[in-house]
Symmetry: C2
Subunit: 165 residues, 2 copies
Amino acid sequence: MAEPGPTSDGLLFLTDEQLRKGIEAMFFAYRGFTADPDRILETKDYGRAHHRAVHFIHRSPGTTVSNLLSILGVTKQSLNRVLRSLIDDGLVRSEKGKVDARERHLHLTDKGQMLERELSDAQRARMRAAYRAAGPQAVAGFRQVLEAMMDPEMRRQYNRLKEGG
Amino acid sequence: MAEPGPTSDGLLFLTDEQLRKGIEAMFFAYRGFTADPDRILETKDYGRAHHRAVHFIHRSPGTTVSNLLSILGVTKQSLNRVLRSLIDDGLVRSEKGKVDARERHLHLTDKGQMLERELSDAQRARMRAAYRAAGPQAVAGFRQVLEAMMDPEMRRQYNRLKEGG
DNA sequence: AATTTACGTCAGCCTTGTTGACTTTCCAAG
DNA sequence: CTTGGAAAGTCAACAAGGCTGACGTAAATT
């Protein structure tokens, strides 16, 4: 089996076959990636959409609804439905902005933190196992390829989150 | 910023922070991964479900409905709806098995091949660009981590497809 | 004072997943 | 040759989570 390798022109030699393997790897791996949280969410009558909201509120406490909208890339009606149930269930707290009172700043409650913990523990455990199985060099490559695969807009979002809160 | 690295016990030193970055990289990258096909499908009144069916029928011509069900991991009712429209639109041909006439063997028609081409060209272009940006070492690592992230069942499916038809 | 922004909500639609029940077709074992 | 069960297809109903469009309100900006 021919492996991808550098050529004299500094490019990679990439067959359609190799690219197809990468595509299918993404497909099957993403299923694994979401499988554990999905199982947990199912028992609590939540879905992936709730998970995403909880994740990014945890990640950036006090973030606004607009912020969340641009990160998640959904409509406000769609986000609102999810946020509504999280607020009603007491997992998320929404408070008016002090400086700009039109904004709503979102925080996880203790209950919300608990769910976030449970979900991210499961997801991290799988990620950790995969990292350990593949080794440190592979981890670096993994992140490089994923980053290169993002849309520029998404990459900006990703990099903004990556360092500062 | 501490990078993941080997420790004296042969394990990886992985902070929650590093794992979170990996998780978010998967999230944003998967969006990029599906963005181009999604745009094409939208103009043709199809969705991701159609793409997946077309992809795996192309990958394994003559595959049966049951086969497809186990690869895609959905119910037959869900798959059937998608398959129905593809057959009615003349993209997929379904024929009774010669040896076991209960089975339906699925093939892409010329029209189906054309759609598959269009979708996979777009997806491969992005994958190729990402691979080239990241380099050959990164590509190997990428595939290793993804493979390690799959459920064992999915990994079997993936490996079965990887080599032979 | 008028306009714009941020947010929330109502109503309705679509895709894609689900369960459950049922039929038809067919192979294979008794 | 009959029958049990597997493979496939179909109908009905439902839910999650996307979407658009329209409208309302409060607050900030011009």
